[in-house]
């Protein structure tokens, strides 16, 4: 069932919508299959997006796009949509069919796709959350919005992180366009892509300005770039005489060959905010030896610039420095590369914004001074700086809970663990004397009749042995080891699950008070039922575990039950109050 959808290539924008439509339409119907998508690399020959429905059968759709940016939008979206369905599907595998899009439908809440998307992602990443979600939201105890309302921070936090990543400039020097010759004719070919053009604009402000000035009023874009390439070629061949001649004839061409005055101004501005411990320009102003013709000539200092013709002697080093500076600055451009004119204008806008931001430099000056003083200090000769730290955040409350439990258990074990406190404070001597006494007594009385019944003795002995071995086994380990780890896995999981469920329910329960609306009243009712269920389940668990662990389990369950009891008690008193109130009313509710 492969369908090639060529012929859509011209419909650039509509196509995006179309692909989305396809995705949404087709994939939900094909439940057992795991759809995937592949795409060709940026910059390869064709912009392809391949949607496969089934990796084994190989059914799918191939879309060819006319440019990469559209493809990328599609690709990103399809990726998201697929992720969402995968999450849904995995939850379907062990659940009875539940209504699709559960939450939004129930509460009539309008969710944007991205929001939806985001929640799906969170669920997918956190299996525990997913389980809870399944249990309560899909089980109908909580609504979707109620469920997420307590996790707002989770949503916000991630919303910031998932902002679209901006790609910076490529490290490669694209602006250094190399001409291609075909070898047979004298023709030289330059090829420029939007990426290259953007980099040229960023690195050569004079070209950028010329473009804004000349195109399209004075010449077409093609003419402009032809001229630019011609100038580049002249520069590359290092034919300064020809360059000068051409520049004299053609003032537009001259723009490309001249010194870049914008860059010079920028440099002058930037040099003022440079770290004073780096400022070598200040040196030049101080150095009395470097009067003209004083001192010894240094290597290379003879290269005096030709002041007569202002054809720039642009060197590779300058280009490299400029390029690296631009890459470092990064790209603050939010338009799609493509139309040169819009790129040029957007760049001009962003530059204005930057220069505007730079005007407040009082603070930067302060910061610079602080940096300098920080730099001068020798770090290991003094106490380390108090580094900025993140506040403690208990990632997994379970561990914390376990630890508390273990401590509690230890405390219990000392006082009323069921064994009598044995006074072990006897010295060896005393013990020996005591033993001797016993033996001598035995000798006198003889072993005529057994002290205890053999069966009873065996039972006690076994019991003791078991207890001893188990406590020995437990107590030998470090106290940080979780009590839970000793329980059978199934019980442990069950308990954990109950614990998180109870937490979730209680959180909602307590946050619903005071009850002001009918909605809240209903919610509390629902919650109470759910809690009651869990209460029973807990009791069952407690009963079902082996005798060995019953004690520990019951101790673990205790706080949960207490918490639930408290909730129930609160509910009952509230209910009572409510009842009394309504009872007092002359025209109360009909009961």
């Amino acid at each position: 069932m492969t369908q090639d959808v060529h012929g859509f290539t011209q419909l650039s924008h509509d196509l995006v919508t179309y692909v989305l439509y396809l995705c949404v339409k087709i994939f939900p119907g094909l439940q057992p299959m795991m759809p995937g998508h592949k795409f060709s690399k940026d910059g390869s020959k064709q912009a392809l997006l391949n949607l496969t429905q089934d990796s084994e059968k190989g059914g799918g759709y191939i879309f060819e796009f006319d440019n990469f940016s559209n493809r990328n939008v599609c690709r990103d979206f399809v990726g998201k949509v697929l992720g969402k369905f995968q999450a849904l599907m995995s939850s379907k595998q062990n659940e009875q069919p539940v209504p699709e899009k559960p939450a939004a439908a129930i509460h009539g809440e309008q969710l944007s796709t991205t929001e939806m998307e985001h929640r799906m992602k969170l669920l997918r990443e956190d299996s525990e959350l997913q389980k809870l979600h399944k249990q309560f939201v899909i089980g109908g105890v909580l609504t979707e919005s109620e469920f997420w309302a307590t996790r707002k921070s989770l949503l916000d936090d991630d919303a910031q992180r998932t902002s679209k990543q901006q790609a910076g400039f490529k490290s490669a020097m694209l602006a250094d366009v190399r001409p291609l010759t075909d070898g047979r004719t004298n023709k030289v070919t330059f090829s420029l892509t939007p990426e290259i053009i953007h980099q040229i604009f960023a690195e050569k402000p004079a070209v950028h300005r010329a473009f804004l000035n000349f195109v399209p009023s004075k010449m077409t874009e093609k003419d402009f770039w032809t001229k630019y390439c011609r100038a580049e070629y002249l520069h590359r061949t290092k034919n300064s005489v020809a360059a000068a001649a051409e520049a004299a004839n053609d003032e537009e061409l001259a723009v490309f060959l001249k010194n870049d005055d914008i860059l010079a101004n920028e440099a002058r501005r930037k040099i003022r905010r440079v770290d004073p411990t780096l400022d070598m320009e200040a040196d030049l102003g101080d150095d009395y030896i470097h009067l003209p013709d004083h001192g010894l000539p240094q290597d290379g200092s003879k290269e005096t610039a030709d002041a007569e013709n202002d054809i720039a002697r642009r060197t590779l080093s300058q280009d490299l420095n400029r390029h690296a500076a631009v890459v470092l600055e990064g790209r603050a451009l939010d338009v799609e590369l493509g139309d040169t004119r819009t790129v040029a204008e957007a760049l001009a806008r962003s530059k204005r914004a930057v220069s505007f931001a730079e005007t407040s430099d009082e603070k930067t000056n302060q910061e610079r001074l602080k940096r300098v003083s920080r730099m001068t200090e020798i770090e290991d000769l003094q106490a380390p700086y108090s580094l900025p730290y993140a506040p403690l955040c208990i990632k997994d409350p379970r561990e914390y809970f376990d630890l508390q439990q273990a401590n509690a258990l230890k405390a219990f074990g000392d006082t009323d663990a069921g064994t009598k406190p044995i006074d072990c404070s006897l010295s060896t001597e005393e013990a020996y004397v005591h033993l001797m006494e016993q033996i001598s007594e035995m000798k006198v009385r003889g072993l005529n009749n057994p002290v205890v019944q053999p069966e009873a003795a065996l039972k006690v002995l076994n019991g003791l042995n078991q207890y001893l071995s188990s406590t020995k086994y437990h107590l030998g380990k470090n106290p940080q080891e979780s009590v839970l780890d000793r329980l059978p896995n199934r019980t442990k999981d069950e308990l954990m699950h109950h614990w998180t469920s109870i937490q979730e329910l209680l959180r909602h329960f307590w946050s619903s008070y005071p009850i002001t609306t009918a909605y809240l009243y209903n919610k509390v009712l629902r919650l109470k039922d759910a809690m009651a269920q869990i209460y029973h389940k807990l009791q069952e668990t407690k009963e079902s575990v082996q005798s060995d662990f019953r004690h520990q389990v019951s101790r673990l369950v205790q706080p949960m039950l207490q918490a639930l009891d408290a909730a129930f008690a609160h509910y009952d008193t509230e209910q009572q109050k409510r009842y009394n109130k309504s009872g007092n009313k002359p025209n109360g509710f009909v009961q």
């Binding site: 400022d279 070598m280 009395y288 003209p292 013709d293 590779l316 490299l320 690296a324 003083s373 000769l381």
Partner: protein
């Protein structure tokens, strides 16, 4: 922390101190006690500057009379800023009752706050713009005319008014003032920071300024003239001090200079005619003054001071200006003849080398100018320009250069030579005649400093071999010591790379350097390293031209593009502004984690004083051995002089000079013992003992035998190992019996131990 060295309480701005810093202070204190000069080599990265400042400040506090003043000389302005920042840190730890005044001094260009003068580009034009507003005759004219008719500098006028009520009115409160602080203060109070600073150095306890302010007689004559004998002079980073000294007394004359001088003379002749017509009395007054001698130099107005005589103060004769140049027009004609003579000499086809004696004799016979006239040229010109009320001194630099040359040639018979080259050796087809007066004797310029001040301290990370410096500079140090570095862990890793990955030798020897195989091997080395080493990497090349060549070749070969995949590339260029910005960007790239490579030149401006410590430089690669250009005539003449006077062999001196440059370059990577860095010497010649042994001891002690003859892949392996080792946590205080960090208690214990011994 606070501790005692003998009877001096030393205030140190940190909680701990390195043992070598302590020893350094002990030695320094001995030198100060003995009131003698000393020579101390201590590795970079052991906090030399702070130890020095801390001890001298504490010493001055302990011995309040006579007040001891510290003159701290740095190579560059940015080093001055660094020193002042350290000083500021120290000051916050001194007892509050003992706060002293410390300030940096620089030229008008770096201190001026007047927007009109500041708009000029170069130092000289700022100077002359300042003179146009503040010269005594300009101010006199402004006082006569209605306000606003003659522009003056409001900052200077305000300062002058404040200062006229006595020096206390403008005395700065104690503290540390960087150039930026002085400017800010000037703006705030409306005073001229430059003249304020000039005035304040008399009262300051610590003055930080450039070498030239003491070594160059032209500058020292006006700035440092009034310093008392009770001064401690420190030359920091002094490994190149001999070069600074000889540069201070060297002049070269080109055809452009002579043409410019001719124009200047023409203009002066016009001025003289104008004065003759309007104000002949001025010229007559000048004549009378000259009869009495050049004593007027002492009581000039502060703003009229010009660069002083290039000859050293002791050599200037206290006698009247010779009669035949007293009259302005006669002096001009002498200068004209001199310029004409020099023009004639420049037209030679061959390289000529002459001693000053022969040159003076030939000037005398051909131009009719005797030695005494030559010697007075500079002062006579100065006087004439004052008389003619010339303010745009930047226009007159050419004639100034000629007179400078004449005075030097007329004063010194020994230790100089005059070399005339019709073209540059490397570009024989381009005629570029130049006449150079080059000084060979470094001791000449520094002699007055040694004579005048009670203690001169010469210190650097690289002064090996340490016995050579006293000979070159002709002085007797009371203490001369080289310290080693006690390391907590092996945090430096020097390597000698002799072969590329294809096992062929690499070198920048003249016959090998342009070999594409060597170029490629160097490129591969860099490429492997940028992929393995985090953050910053610095590369030093032997010269600008070599760097340009090799970077172009790498660009053609595609190696540069591959390097750029890993790190951003920045290059030092001849343009200081661009280099400064490149450095700034380099640091930002290292800060943000992007990582960068900096290409620089040994003997260049960056190698002189920029630190690449911590993440700014985890690896430094020295491509080649930075020998001087050995075919240079000046160098040949200097070597000859060294052989004849000090019996130093040419080869030895060249190797010494190259290796101190290399050591200086690689030494920039480490700043403290918590820091770490690798150093690769990429040239097969470093594996030879005679070369290697000239490296300073602290590098040699870490250069293992196994690291002496590496190829690229072996070096890469070692680098990876090293970086992994350095990433492990370690005990900062040092392990076992060797302590590498001392606390106050340790020092006290040490002190008691010493007591017990006695």
């Amino acid at each position: 922390m606070k501790f005692l060295i003998d009877d001096v309480t030393v205030y140190f701005p940190y909680d701990y101190i390195y043992p070598e810093q302590y020893e350094y202070m002990v030695e320094l204190k001995r030198a100060l006690d003995a009131r003698g000069h000393c020579l101390l080599e201590m590795p970079t990265g052991t906090g030399k500057t702070v130890a020095l400042l801390s001890l001298i400040s504490s010493y001055a506090l302990a011995r309040p009379s006579p007040p001891l003043k510290l003159l701290y000389c740095t190579r560059t302005v940015h080093e001055m800023e660094k020193t002042l920042a350290e000083l500021r840190l120290l000051h916050s730890h001194l007892p509050p009752t003992h706060r002293s005044l410390a300030l940096g001094l620089s030229s008008r260009k770096n201190l001026c706050v007047n927007p009109i003068a500041l708009s000029s580009a170069s130092r000289d034009s700022v100077d002359s713009a300042c003179r146009r507003l503040t010269a005594s005759w300009v101010r006199a004219a402004a006082a006569e005319q209605p306000p606003g008719a003659v522009p003056t500098c409001p900052f200077f006028e305000a300062y002058d008014r404040a200062a006229s009520s006595g020096p206390d009115a403008v005395l700065l409160p104690p503290g540390v003032y960087t150039l930026g602080d002085l400017r800010a203060l000037g703006r705030e109070k409306g005073w001229c920071p430059y003249f304020l600073a000039r005035q304040m150095i008399r009262y300051a306890n610590v003055v930080v300024y450039s070498y030239q302010y003491l070594l160059d007689p032209k500058v020292a004559g006006i700035i440092s003239r009034e310093m008392q004998r009770e001064c401690v002079v420190v030359f920091d980073e002094a490994h190149n001090i001999d070069n600074v000294c000889i540069e201070a007394l060297s002049v070269s004359v080109r055809r452009q200079t002579l043409d410019g001088a001719t124009r200047n003379l023409h203009r002066m002749a016009q001025e003289i005619d104008r004065f003759k017509a309007t104000d002949a009395s001025r010229l007559r007054a000048e004549y009378n003054r000259l009869v009495e001698g050049l004593a007027q130099r002492g009581n000039l107005a502060l703003t009229d001071a010009w660069l002083a005589n290039p000859a050293l103060p002791d050599d200037i004769l206290k006698e009247a200006v010779p009669g035949n140049i007293r009259r302005a027009e006669h002096f001009l004609s002498v200068l004209r003849r001199l310029v004409q003579y020099l023009k004639g000499r420049l037209q030679t086809e061959n390289v000529e080398t002459e001693r000053p004696v022969d040159f003076v004799a030939s000037v005398s016979s051909q131009a009719g100018i005797d030695q005494k006239m030559l010697r007075f040229c500079y002062d006579r010109l100065h006087s004439l320009m004052l008389t003619l009320e010339i303010t745009d001194t930047d226009e007159f630099l050419h004639i100034q250069t000629i007179c400078d040359f004449a005075t030097l040639v007329g004063t010194y018979m020994q230790g100089f030579s005059i070399i005339i080259e019709p073209f540059d050796e490397r570009m024989p087809h381009i005629p570029d005649p130049v006449l150079q007066l080059s000084c060979h004797d470094a001791s000449l310029a520094i002699k007055p400093v040694f004579d005048r001040f009670q203690s001169v301290i010469i210190t650097s990370g690289t002064l090996s071999p340490i016995d050579l410096y006293p000979r070159l500079l002709n002085f007797n140090p009371v203490i001369s010591r080289s310290f080693t570095m006690s390391l907590t862990r092996d945090c430096i890793c020097p390597m000698v790379l002799t072969r590329g990955s294809d096992q062929l030798p690499v070198s920048t020897k003249f016959d090998m350097r342009s070999d594409p195989g060597v170029v490629r091997n160097y490129g591969r080395l860099l490429l492997e390293m940028v992929a393995a080493v985090p953050d910053g990497i610095v590369c030093f090349f032997v010269s600008y031209s070599y760097m340009d060549g090799i970077v172009n070749s790498w660009n053609e070969m595609g190696i540069l593009q591959d390097v750029m995949q890993h790190k951003l590339v920045f290059i030092e260029t001849q343009d200081v502004v661009e280099t400064t910005l490149a450095l700034d960007n380099y640091r930002r790239a290292c800060d943000c984690g992007r990582g960068a490579v900096f290409f620089s030149v040994a003997r260049g401006k960056v190698a002189e004083g920029i630190d690449f410590d911590r993440h700014y430089g985890r690896l430094v690669i020295m491509f080649g051995v930075p020998f001087q250009y050995t075919l240079s005539r000046i160098l040949i003449a200097r070597l000859e002089y060294l052989r004849n006077t000090f019996q130093i062999k040419e080869g030895d001196f060249l190797t010494f000079d190259a290796l101190r440059q290399a050591a200086q370059c690689v030494g920039r990577v480490i700043r403290s013992k918590a820091d770490y860095g690798m150093m690769i010497f990429a040239d097969k010649r470093y594996s030879r003992h005679d070369k290697r042994s000239k490296l300073p001891g602290w590098i040699l002690s870490h250069l293992r035998d196994a690291h002496l003859n590496l190829s690229t892949d072996m070096a890469l392996h070692i680098a990876r190992e090293f970086l992994r080792r350095m990433a492990q946590p370690y005990d900062k205080a040092g392990t076992g019996g060797r302590k590498t960090l001392l606390s106050q208690e340790d020092l006290e214990k040490m002190g008691e131990g010493v007591m017990d011994m006695f």
